[in-house]
Symmetry: C2
């Protein structure tokens, strides 16, 4: 079996990195079985530094930092790299162009999943950085898939929930209900699927309670990563 070593650009935030690490190991072992585990390289960045680039919309410094990080992982021997965070994908293309190893994009992986389900209208929920940017909307619209979204006040409230309640082990029942109402609202607007474009959202928004298809971007990204690591797509 051939295996290309995975390089993870992580730390944004640390709990997302732990989720990727655990899901990659679990997924590898489900596919391969036996006593072996995948070798994985991780460079966990300073979330505080990366947030400064996000808030200042300083995409130049963000790309430079990510290029330097991926190049370090290359030197340590990774076969390909991924950014373990939706928002960092604002600069995915320009980072990819400047490094030597291949990179697996969360957006491409989610687009493949959207196409596979043949949905024509999707909702997106995530941080305000994701909602204000074209990360998902641009490529979806190029595929003639319509994007519906919540009003601005609700997007701001979701950002506050992500930074606040969703960081704690016991999420208040009213936060969970309001997030579910948001999903239903997107469904009412015609969304056949909702992209949960933030690692913290699937903790509160559960498949079994949802009237529409939920796309957990971390799970989808991990699956695409394992496909690439194990050479399924070549």
């Amino acid at each position: 079996m051939s295996y290309k070593q995975i390089g993870i650009v992580g730390g944004v935030g640390p709990s997302a990195t732990v989720l990727y690490y655990q899901q990659i190991i679990e997924g590898y072992r489900d596919r391969i079985g036996g006593t072996h585990y995948p070798e994985i390289l991780i460079h966990s960045l300073d979330l505080g530094e990366i947030n400064e680039y996000f808030y200042a919309n300083d995409l130049k410094s963000l790309s430079d930092k990510l290029v330097q990080t991926v190049k370090g992982l290359e030197k340590a021997g990774c076969g390909f790299a991924l950014l373990a965070c939706n928002t960092m994908h604002m600069v995915f293309d320009r980072v990819k162009q400047r490094v030597n190893v291949p990179m697996v994009s969360i957006v491409d992986a989610v687009l493949e999943e959207v196409k596979r389900h043949r949905v024509k209208r999707v909702g997106i929920m995530g941080t305000t950085f994701i909602m204000l940017s074209d990360i998902y909307r641009g490529p979806l619209e190029r595929l003639r898939i319509e994007c519906v979204q919540l009003d601005e006040d609700e997007q701001v409230w979701i950002m506050e929930a992500i930074l606040g309640d969703l960081q704690h082990p016991n999420i208040p029942e009213e936060t969970v209900s309001r997030l579910m109402r948001d999903v239903e609202n997107l469904g009412t607007q015609g969304a056949e699927a909702v992209i949960l474009a933030c690692t913290d959202l699937p903790v509160a928004i559960r498949e079994e309670h949802s009237p529409v298809l939920l796309l957990d971007t971390t799970k989808i990204h991990v699956k695409a990563t394992l496909d690439f690591a194990l050479g399924k797509n070549e």
Copy 2:
């Protein structure tokens, strides 16, 4: 503030690596405060491969693998490295000699803690690899600190508990009680402190129920790592 980037040789096992990662971030933020996080490099190894070296007592292949791993982390930019596992410390000295960056030893950190508490007799609990080796006993005896241990059958049972019950979220009450009786047994033999030389043991053996001082080797190693990263010991 100066900060030397931490390089973690992990994956042995993955849950220990997550524990180190989370405790390092938490400890850093407790000390430094503010919005920043430490940059951390991790190379997570294949536990299956490493276990083969352990079971075959193939210390040559084990050292070669760890030297290659630390050298990779050096290239990616770490300022120093650590092995996130007690058992890998069987080859700590020979790995340290062959790499360029400094390395922080779990055994040295625990010895410092034993000295600080001025105990004269300690018990050790861990995997059978730890118990059969001289990793802790050798250096403790050179400090004229006496080591007491459980009989062989009990050590085998502890190994089975580590590989079995302690890997699951709900540890059976009888396993917890038996481990506590082991601690008491070591206390009865005169141990003033017990070294919990396996990441999984502190999950079941809790300070508040123990008649003797418990030394959680992961916590002690993380503290020494942060001291080194932040230049406290220079």
